[in-house]
């Protein structure tokens, strides 16, 4: 194991000590033996790829959710925060990833929000305004009009308002969960200067960032999470960008190449199904020209919020292309209708809210999208539907008691297979899948890999967004990696590895020379 624990075992002096913390959501282990130790007066970075458990850890420390097991020791005493207020009272102030600023409240009210009781104010009106101005001054935005609605602020200023809110609390530990993503360089530098001042006051900062330059320049120590586990904690000089990226990617990366020899041969010759020409998510980003061929699995990767989802939605007609076009054989795709006509089937990310009809049967769920194809004079035969459901279910390896059992009786993995079956039942030319195997158990995952490879073998074009690097390495012929709303790299089979993906996701991909991405 390439693990290095820095020699900071001053356990009795630690401000916060997290030991063997675990938390599962259904079948997904979001945190699985997570360890973290924070000293007074340090700036500590927390890094890891998507789904490595950073947000879960932070939510537990902030009292948003509870852990299943494990210890959190705060100032030497065991602590368990049942609600955000408890954590804040104890001295932990958190700025969350989503800017939780209320657009209809004034900047002033947004910043003091949560300090008071239901009715009683903690401080008088004048004192309040003074505190707000001080907090904004620390962040270098003292000139902000504190009476204006927060909804009229830019994204960057909203983020600063969120940070100012946390600064108002008497904190010992400030947690910043990707709170710098919208800030420009000047704002960020001012924030970092403030963080360093806090450190010299003996206060502690824990920050999550996907920008390696921030981590290496600011952090005294860096803890790396991978699949819910702590991989190691590195002191400042050990925490080089290369080292961190290497540790973040899993050891199984090397294994990915095997079991996929067939991919290359099938990819080359199919007809083009989808064409991106001069496509970009924002003006000024490098345009992408790419073709997805029948029988190809094109992966899509990126850190949360870097544009990959928008890319997928453009391909499925759910969103208009900001620049350039996405086109199928019969013309450009502008709407879900166009996508349906081009026989492009889309699988949304959230199974529970956008996918299954929980009270209905497996048959209903599989055939609901293809009813028009099954109907004769507007009537649908029950036997016919059942036959289709059984056949599709067999192809997608759905394990069910009967096609008439409610879909909610199936495991998450089998529900997902049934949804995949629903898409296939519409006889599509291309599948656009938004992280279809997130939170699916291993056995079902393996089934789905086979199903996808099988479909591709039969000439289906597949656009697969995944947050699991191993999955992308195993299944895809090429992977488009997004960074900061732009295409950072299109990594071909030959170059595909978890290391390459992570480097590209963090904007550090150095393309090997002479690689033709369209090969």
């Amino acid at each position: 194991m390439n693990t290095t624990i820095a020699p900071h075992s001053l356990s009795n002096a630690a401000l916060l000590e997290v030991r063997d913390l675990r938390r599962s959501f259904g079948e997904t282990r979001a945190l699985d033996s997570c360890t973290l130790m924070l000293q007074p007066g340090e700036i500590h970075a927390l890094v890891g790829e998507n789904g490595s458990g950073k947000s879960t850890l932070i939510k537990i420390l902030s009292g948003i959710i509870c852990s299943d097991s494990g210890d959190v020791a705060w100032k030497g005493a065991s602590a368990r925060f049942a609600k955000p207020r408890d954590a804040q009272r104890a001295g932990i102030a958190t700025v969350f990833q989503e800017t939780l600023v209320l657009p209809d409240l004034s900047v002033h009210d947004n910043i003091v929000l949560g300090l008071d009781d239901v009715v009683r104010r903690r401080s008088g009106q004048l004192r309040e305004a003074q505190l707000v101005r001080e907090a904004l001054a620390v962040l270098g935005v003292a000139t902000l009009d504190i009476e204006q609605d927060a909804g009229s602020l830019s994204l960057a200023n909203r983020q600063l308002v969120g940070i100012a809110r946390s600064l108002l609390r008497p904190w010992r530990l400030l947690i910043l969960d990707e709170s710098t993503s919208a800030l420009d360089v000047d704002d960020r530098d001012r924030l970092f200067a403030a963080l360093r001042r806090f450190r010299s006051d003996g206060r502690t900062v824990l920050f999550v960032s996907h920008r390696m330059d921030e981590v290496t320049s600011l952090a005294d120590r860096t803890t790396v999470l991978r699949s819910g586990r702590t991989v190691g904690t590195f002191a400042g000089d050990e925490a080089t960008t290369e080292r961190l990226l290497e540790v973040m990617s899993s050891r199984e990366g090397a294994r990915a190449a095997e079991g996929h020899a067939a991919a290359h041969s099938r990819a080359a010759n199919g007809p083009t199904v989808l064409t991106w020409s001069e496509f970009a998510l924002k003006t000024g980003r490098a345009p992408l020209s790419l073709e997805l061929r029948a029988g190809e699995i094109l992966g899509v990767a990126g850190l949360e919020g870097h544009g990959q989802v928008a890319f997928l939605e453009c391909a499925a007609g759910r969103r208009a292309s900001p620049c350039g076009t996405v086109a199928a054989e019969r013309g450009a795709i502008h709407s879900p209708r166009d996508a349906a006509r081009a026989r492009i089937a889309f699988l949304p990310r959230d199974r529970k809210t956008e996918g299954i009809f929980a009270p209905l049967t497996v048959t209903d769920n599989i055939t609901v999208s293809g009813l028009r194809r099954l109907a004769r004079w507007g009537l649908v035969s029950r036997q016919q539907r059942r036959r289709v459901a059984v056949e599709v279910g067999r192809n997608t390896k759905v394990k069910m008691a009967s096609p008439d059992s409610p879909i909610s009786s199936l495991s998450g993995g089998n529900q997902q297979k049934a949804l995949l079956g629903r898409l296939i039942a519409t006889d599509p030319q291309a599948l656009v899948l938004n992280d279809p195997l997130r939170g699916v158990d291993l056995g079902a995952k393996r089934d789905c890999y086979e199903v996808l490879a099988d479909l591709a073998g039969k000439g289906m074009a597949i656009l697969l967004l995944s947050t699991e690097l191993a999955e992308l390495c195993q299944l895809c012929d090429r992977v488009v990696v997004f960074h900061n709303q732009g295409v950072e790299a299109v990594i071909g089979r030959a170059e595909l590895s978890e290391q390459a993906l992570i480097a590209a996701m963090f904007g550090k991909y150095h393309k090997a020379p002479d690689v033709d991405v369209n090969a």
Binding site: L100, L102, L155
Partner: protein, 321 residues
């Protein structure tokens, strides 16, 4: 300046209110006669107060609504004119005290059901709506009973000043006082985005419960107001006010999803609905058309509102860009 900014949501309804005052005056010159003012205020009071009662519940968000305000006012009416009067508890302290206590208890029940037990607000308060409706008929099977002397006097004038003016002043003072506390911003935050408020450390359940308690108390005061106006009891008089109150809140520029708006808009809209009624009476339009008129006004207002809302979202989206 600041006050203008935070109350700009009420501008359309206030403008409509002025227009309908003018229309009423045009329809009947007697409308402007000072001798009429007291009668108008007495008639408008239940509309205005019940609209204010609905406001905190809807502002609290997550489907917040208080269906029970109308029947609760009816229960207070029956309680005062029958139960308390028959026991000789006719002094102001007993009657006001009991009425407010009923409002508080009812609000607590609604609030706890919604914020703690987590029953859908419309279902929880529909439950209490039915209970209170039954309760009012149980106490007072048909119109009857009498209001105490001092309460009927409230519908008159004191030294030329309508009694209702004092009542409004009292309610406004109480609300303005509450606005100076943290409650108003906590309520708007909880109604705007409960998750954001929760993670900022706001006691979301506490804020919601208090919102429904205020609704209950104001509904009870509305009950007293129309007891004063009627001078007697009627078990069925309260119920229809629930719909009036919801319509007023919507007309008053309060976001039905919560988090935006305030009492001023709802109160003005309550008065507006009353003026529509008087205008119909003055113009000798049949009472049957009144409902149709209410409905049309509501739909037009909300359609305009939805258009303004879309424009606002576009503007905000452009700013974030």
């Amino acid at each position: 300046m600041n006050w203008l900014r935070t109350h700009s949501y009420a501008a359309p309804v206030l403008a409509a209110l002025v227009i309908f005052l003018i229309l009423n005056a045009l329809a009947s010159p007697a409308f402007l006669d000072p001798d009429n003012w007291n009668g108008l205020l007495v008639g408008a009071a239940p509309f205005i107060i019940i609209a204010m009662a609905q406001t905190p519940a809807i502002l609290s968000g997550d489907g917040g609504i208080d269906m029970s305000v109308g029947p609760l006012a009816g229960v207070v009416n029956a309680l005062v004119t029958v139960t308390l009067m028959s026991r000789g508890w006719s002094d102001p302290i007993s009657i006001i005290g009991c009425s407010l206590a009923v409002g508080v208890v009812s609000g607590l029940i609604n609030g706890v059901l919604i914020a703690v037990v987590r029953v859908q607000p419309i279902i929880a308060t529909l439950g209490t709506y039915l209970v209170y409706q039954g309760l009012a008929v149980e106490i007072l099977p048909m119109a009857g009973g009498t209001a105490p002397e001092w309460l009927r006097d409230l519908a008159g004038t004191y030294a030329g000043v309508p009694g209702m003016v004092f009542l409004f002043a009292l309610i406004a003072a109480a609300w303005l006082l509450l606005e100076r506390t943290a409650f108003k911003r906590n309520l708007l935050a909880v109604g705007g985005d409960a998750r954001a408020a929760y993670s900022a450390g706001v006691n979301v359940a506490g804020v919601r419960i208090l919102a429904y308690v205020i609704s209950g108390v104001l509904a009870a005061i509305a009950g007293l107001a129309f007891t004063a106006a009627l001078g007697s009891g009627d078990p069925r008089v309260g119920t229809p006010y629930t719909l009036t109150s919801i319509a007023s809140v919507a007309l008053g520029g309060v976001a039905m999803t919560g988090g935006r708006g305030g009492m001023l808009g709802a109160a003005a809209a309550g008065a507006l609905l009353f003026l529509i009624q008087t205008l119909c009476t003055l113009a000798q339009v049949s009472i049957f058309y009144l409902q149709i008129f209410y409905g049309l006004v509501l739909i037009v207002a909300l359609a305009l509102n939805a258009g303004a809302e879309r424009a606002r979202h576009r503007r905000l989206a452009a700013q974030v860009g």
